[in-house]
């Protein structure tokens, strides 16, 4: 488990090109071009030109939509990604089907309506993104997100992330039964990831408006299995103890 770079030179390449820099380049570029996306169901569609397409790929936002159009590249953003670009980075405006720009509040209402756990999920997503981790969907691994230290082409994801909304009757409903804990720990172990649970607490603030999200608290815990058979010697004790 833990950090595994993909091949030689990957770590050097990542260090030379920090994710924070890539994201701020993307931000500037989107602001300059006055980018706007179209809200469609649970996605936001965005058409960009080559330079921005490259930045979106490098920063790992959205997934490209293959079309016959040659001069622009379409991207499909998840609700979390779109709202992060719009509300946190303030570099994307989002329009409805009627081509009117949606306010942050309107977007928030739409997204929480589509997904009741959106406030907690968005908090979790933004929490990791703001620490410059790359966050992608975790559905391949049966979790909510996976977190990468840098671009997935350079490094394997280190964490399989579950969002715990336990405090409010637990709409996400994960890790409620031991079979689920066994299953997740086993699966994460076999793909060399640690199971990270983000406990989101609304701290008494509701989810009436997006500004509530900044008041939520996040606690990070790694859930793992301890094998007494393999841990009989502790080196820290061997060093300190007599």
């Amino acid at each position: 488990m833990g950090l595994r770079w993909k091949g030689k030179g990957a770590e050097v390449r990542a260090q030379a090109d920090p994710m924070s820099k890539i994201v701020s380049q993307l931000k500037l570029s989107l602001i300059e071009s006055n980018a706007h996306g179209v809200l469609s169901g649970c996605s936001v569609l965005l058409a960009v030109e080559a330079v921005q397409s490259d930045l979106l790929n490098r920063a790992c936002f959205g997934r490209p939509v293959v079309t016959a159009e040659k001069d622009k590249q379409w991207f499909q953003l998840s609700m979390e990604e779109a709202f992060y670009l719009c509300y946190i980075l303030k570099c994307l405006s989002i329009h409805g089907g009627d081509d009117h720009r949606k306010t942050d509040e309107e977007l928030w209402e739409h997204m929480t309506d589509k997904k009741s756990t959106f406030p907690e999920f968005f908090k979790a997503y933004a929490h990791l993104r703001m620490k410059n981790w790359v966050v992608r969907s975790g559905s391949q691994y049966g979790v909510d997100y996976v977190a990468y230290r840098h671009h997935p082409s350079l490094v394997h994801s280190e964490y399989a992330v579950l969002v715990s909304t336990q405090e409010h009757s637990g709409e996400n409903g994960r890790l409620r039964v031991w079979s689920d804990v066994h299953c997740m720990v086993r699966l994460c172990g076999s793909v060399a990831k640690a199971l990270l649970v983000l406990y989101i607490s609304k701290c008494g603030h509701g989810d009436a408006s997006p500004s509530c999200v900044t008041l939520y608290s996040v606690e990070e815990r790694v859930v793992g299995r301890w094998s007494p058979k393999d841990c009989r010697e502790d080196h820290s004790i061997a060093v300190n103890g007599h």
Partner: protein
């Protein structure tokens, strides 16, 4: 494990290997499951139903350096310690009127859950003991004669001895803390020390782990936090016993770094 693409979910062969390993424990031939070496030396203890422990009357072998609590110069072992030693053939147990007590009687005694232990807890204890860990009940001192040992003279030992509890009632008060434990409550049960040949009851040091037996559902964040506070910084492990299989889980607080 090194050098393989573990992100690739199609590496079924690794999972298969794990499955085969897991199923290794199923043995078709009878009696082949036992890898235990039974002891040739047998200590003797007398069960004291009043305190819910056995008083050791004859000690043999090295195991007593890591088993039993010392009170008023006497050595007492809990029901899990008693049972474990009986199972491995290291202890002969007698009743208050010196009748030999069978393992069956003690299994029944354990089933009553009156002595601060239950079958699942016993399974956890045995699991760790068989791996060489040193296990004591949480927060029950191994010995009251402790800490102030560095002066080391006979007289100072004599003083600390005199500070110890002497009457059986004092002993009872310690036991009471064990027996009144509600086994369904989520609480800390065992202090676990790594295998250590130099372990001393008079200076055991901090345990490596504190264990909480858990049933029903996985712990909530609030439960984990409350138990962590009780542990005072020592690593907390949750033990789960399902059909004779003991698993340990940790829910450790971490802080992901802010990346460049």
């Amino acid at each position: 494990m090194e050098g393989e693409d573990w992100d690739d979910l199609s590496s079924e062969s690794d999972l298969l290997e794990q499955d085969l390993k897991d199923e290794d424990e199923y043995n078709y031939a009878s009696n082949s499951s036992s890898k235990l070496q039974f002891r040739k030396v047998t200590s003797v203890a007398r069960w004291n139903s009043e305190v819910g422990m056995a008083e050791v009357v004859q000690t043999k072998g090295q195991l007593w350096t890591t088993t039993g609590i010392v009170r008023s110069g006497k050595l007492y072992c809990s029901i899990e310690e008693t049972l474990f030693l009986m199972e491995i053939g290291a202890l002969h147990l007698v009743s208050e009127n010196d009748q030999s007590v069978s393992l069956e009687t003690m299994y029944q005694q354990l089933a009553e859950e009156k002595d601060g232990c239950c079958w699942e807890l016993y399974e956890v204890y045995r699991h760790l003991k068989l791996l060489g860990y040193i296990v004591g009940r949480h927060d029950i001192p191994w010995s009251l004669k402790s800490v102030k040992r560095n002066t080391g003279t006979v007289s100072s030992e004599g003083t600390s001895e005199s500070q110890e509890v002497h009457s059986p009632h004092d002993c009872n008060s310690i036991i009471e803390r064990l027996t009144k434990m509600d086994l369904n409550e989520l609480k800390l049960v065992f202090d676990v020390y790594l295998p250590n040949g130099k372990f001393r009851k008079s200076s055991p040091g901090d345990p490596s782990y504190v264990l909480c037996l858990i049933r029903g559902q996985p712990p909530s964040k609030i439960e984990v936090e409350a138990l962590e506070r009780q542990c005072g910084g020592l690593p907390l492990k949750f033990c789960l016993v399902e059909s004779g299989r003991v698993s340990f889980f940790s829910f450790s607080k971490v802080e992901l770094p802010i990346l460049p």
